[in-house]
């Protein structure tokens, strides 16, 4: 068969001289082609379906978190002008004064009401306001005692339940007995709003305060700082140790049964459930080594143990990806092995190492179980001050608020998750940025 005939046979089934031989062949080829296209189409369809399913789960998850959490970021504030009656204020014992009462009667007066004999009405009004107003007034008087006898305007968040009403999360349509505010209170809230006493703004308190028993005063800052301190410990321990381990294993260690065994073990460690690291940390760091519990230090130690295998694996694969020609080049001009690694291989592996390290860190930041095991379930209304002061971390804060009974904490749980996710997005974004920044062609 000549070339020309071959081409004719392939392109023209009815070509001269080949009509009988090539037709069934071409038919079979067409059939195979059709089957291949169908298979490809089916596969693409499966892939798209999988993506759609995964995306819709993600959207549902995020949508639920955002729809639950958004209300935390809106804060309703009230300002009340209070006449500080010198008759009721003992300048020598300012702490003993019932400031809350003074404020709630002032708020009632704004609505043209006075307290009843048993103080029920002022109690109901007080429930609508945050104790923060009382503290604010006390602070102002302490700073300037000459304010006694004058009218002082205090400004602060309204109570959590009142806030829920303004945000539409407590509805008038619910039977009175089933909601935490009665009809009279709802009426007052409407009037206060109508009189322009109530404003709403972005809730910066949530981002700057530590935890509190009062939902309207509680914030994630304590947990965020705890997380940041913990992450610093994790980073300072896991990254250098992990990177150096990987460099040694990959570039210097002999390849024998022991290093193989080590490799298998490291890979398995990456899959050990985090609660086991928590137990290990409890036994090793707290009970044996006496590291103070509930602190970012001990949390960081445990999470560093957990992040180590991931950092090692990521670093090793980044080192493996460096072309051997670079090692040859460096060795060829007379660089020692250490120089080769530190001058050439490691810098080239840096984007991969950094990406892996940041992902390990953000993974560690999201871990709850180790934090629970080493006592980071901790209520503190103070911001943590250092590596040795008791602290909690963001995922544990989620856990704490999830278990809180007050309704307002439900939304705060979601809001805390949003803060945690924002942290993660920030870190992963950094990883992507670093990768594209340092990645070079070679």
């Amino acid at each position: 068969m000549t070339d020309a005939a071959l081409i004719a046979g392939a392109t023209q089934p009815s070509g001269p001289g080949h009509a009988s031989g090539s037709t069934p062949k071409t038919l079979a080829a067409a059939k195979r082609l059709k089957a291949r296209h169908a298979a490809e189409f089916r596969f693409r369809l499966y892939g798209r379906t999988a993506i759609i399913v995964a995306l819709s789960f993600l959207v549902i998850l995020l949508g639920r978190i955002v729809s639950q959490g958004w209300s935390t970021f809106v804060q309703n504030r009230i300002s009340v002008a209070v006449y500080v009656d010198p008759a009721k204020v003992d300048a020598r014992a300012l702490n003993g004064v019932n400031w809350d009462y003074m404020i709630s009667t002032a708020a009632l007066a704004k609505l043209g009401l006075t307290d009843d004999d048993v103080g029920e009405r002022s109690g109901k009004m007080s429930a609508l306001l945050s104790p923060a107003l009382g503290y604010d007034l006390l602070k102002k008087i302490k700073a300037d005692p000459s304010l006694i006898g004058k009218t002082v305007t205090v400004d602060g968040p309204i109570g959590a339940d009142a806030g829920l009403y303004y945000k539409g999360l407590i509805k008038r349509s619910t039977a009175e007995g089933d909601r935490r505010l009665d009809d009279a209170q709802l009426g007052w809230l409407d009037q206060l709003k109508a009189k322009g006493q109530v404003t709403s703004k972005f809730n910066t308190d949530f981002l700057t305060h530590a935890d509190s028993t009062q939902p309207e005063q509680a914030g994630v800052a304590g947990a965020a700082i705890g997380s940041a301190l913990t992450l610093i410990v994790v980073g300072l321990l896991a990254i250098p140790i992990g990177v150096l381990t990987a460099v040694y294993l990959e570039e210097f260690a002999p390849k024998n049964r022991w290093t193989d065994l080590l490799e298998v073990n490291i890979n398995n460690l990456a899959a050990v459930p985090s609660i086991i690291y928590g137990l290990l940390g409890l036994a090793l760091f707290i009970n044996m080594m006496g590291v103070p519990r509930s602190t970012p230090l001990v949390g960081g130690l445990v999470l560093a143990l957990m992040a180590l295998p991931t950092v090692i694996i990521a670093t090793r694969s980044a080192l493996k990806a460096v072309p051997p020609s670079i090692r040859e080049a460096a060795l060829g001009v007379g660089a020692s092995r250490t120089q080769t690694v530190f001058h050439h291989v490691l810098p080239m592996a840096r984007p991969g190492i950094m990406t892996g390290a940041i992902l390990a860190l953000s993974h560690a930041m999201g871990e709850t179980a180790p934090g629970l095991m080493v006592g980071m379930v901790f209520f503190s209304s103070d911001l943590p001050r250092g590596f040795l002061s008791a602290a909690t971390v963001l995922p544990v804060q989620v856990f704490i608020w999830e278990n809180a009974s007050e309704r307002a904490f439900l939304s705060m749980t979601a809001a805390c998750i949003m803060v945690l996710l924002a942290f993660m997005i920030l870190m992963n974004g950094t990883a992507i940025y670093l990768r594209s920044r340092y990645e070079r062609r070679w």
């Binding site: 002999p254 390849k255 072309p323 020609s325 670079i326 090692r327 040859e328 080049a329 460096a330 060795l331 060829g332 001009v333 007379g334 660089a335 020692s336 092995r337 120089q339 001058h343 050439h344 080239m348 070079r440 062609r441 070679w442």
Partner: protein, 300 residues
């Protein structure tokens, strides 16, 4: 003519017409005076020179597999020696014995002696890192560091402490790039990445990097196999120039290239050295029938 001489102090006689000394020539004892072969392919007068590298009974094993069998080769100084032979016959393996790059291959074992100026490179006294500064290497694929052109050349002198200061280093870089005939093309962009050059330029950069540490021997493993004919011609010209100052060993699959650039040729086959001799003799009058077959393209 009898070039092969086991006695390093006995340079073969060759007519001296134009003695040439080059800038940067290493004064290592006896001044090497040699005729410059002006026209490529003219090897009638083989170069003079002492033996630079002498390999004796080299056997190399990769694990259980033996790659080289009792190889004896003599390599003269200030000349180009070509290694030819079919793929997998052990040319690269032998090359790596000279600068001990086989040390870096796990499972590789070398027996025998490689004498560099009469000193065994496998001696425990010899540090492979210092050895590799004396025996530079150029690889098949250009492999510049992903750093600037300047850094590529400056790296070797810097780690070996060859430059007294910044100005000195700049001088070395410039001289090396000039000797690699790359200076004119890159002098305005020394700070740009070396990986941004063309393949042929990269290979010359790599050669500049190798000569910047002032080696005595330069090993080149198929330096032109990734290059187009024009870039190849430039590298060949460069090699021809460099042999004034360096002992050059080149592995090549191109018979024409071996004939053009080398004064000595060794033919390897199945891990054994079949034949060594002056290039002219090897190409015109090989003693072994296998050499004959390979050169004429009958196998390989």
């Amino acid at each position: 003519m009898s070039y092969i001489s086991k006695d390093p102090s006995n340079p073969s006689g060759s007519p001296m017409t134009t003695p040439e000394r080059h800038q940067g020539d290493h004064a290592d004892g006896v001044p090497e005076i040699r005729l410059r072969t002006a026209a490529i392919g003219a090897h009638a007068d083989a170069p003079t020179g002492t033996l630079k590298v002498q390999a004796k009974k080299i056997n190399v094993f990769y694990g259980a597999k033996q790659a080289l069998f009792d190889v004896d080769v003599d390599i003269p100084g200030k000349a180009v020696t070509a290694f030819i032979g079919p793929s997998g016959c052990g040319k690269s393996t032998f090359l790596r014995c000279i600068n001990r790059m086989n040390d870096t291959i796990p499972g590789a074992k070398v027996t025998g002696e490689v004498l560099l100026d009469g000193e065994d490179v496998n001696d425990r006294q010899i540090d492979p890192v210092t050895l590799r500064a004396r025996v530079g290497m150029v690889f098949q694929k250009p492999n510049p560091f992903p750093k600037s052109i300047f850094e590529n050349v400056a790296y070797g002198p810097r780690i070996h402490g060859l430059a007294a200061g910044k100005a000195d280093l700049e001088e070395i870089v410039e001289a090396s790039l000039k000797r690699a005939s790359l200076w004119e093309e890159v002098k305005d962009r020394l700070n740009q990445p070396g990986t941004g050059l063309s393949g042929g330029q990269q290979q010359r950069l790599v050669i500049a990097r190798a000569i910047a540490v002032a080696p005595e021997v330069i090993l080149m493993d198929e330096p032109c196999s990734a290059l187009d004919p024009i870039a190849t011609a430039r590298i060949e010209e460069l090699i021809d120039e460099l042999r004034q100052q360096f002992c050059i060993v080149i592995v090549t699959h191109s018979m024409a290239q071996a004939a053009r650039v080398s004064q000595r040729t060794s033919f390897f086959h199945l891990g054994k050295l079949v034949e060594s001799g002056s290039t002219e003799e090897m190409f015109t009058n090989p003693k072994d029938s296998r050499t004959q077959d390979y050169i004429t393209g009958r196998f390989g």
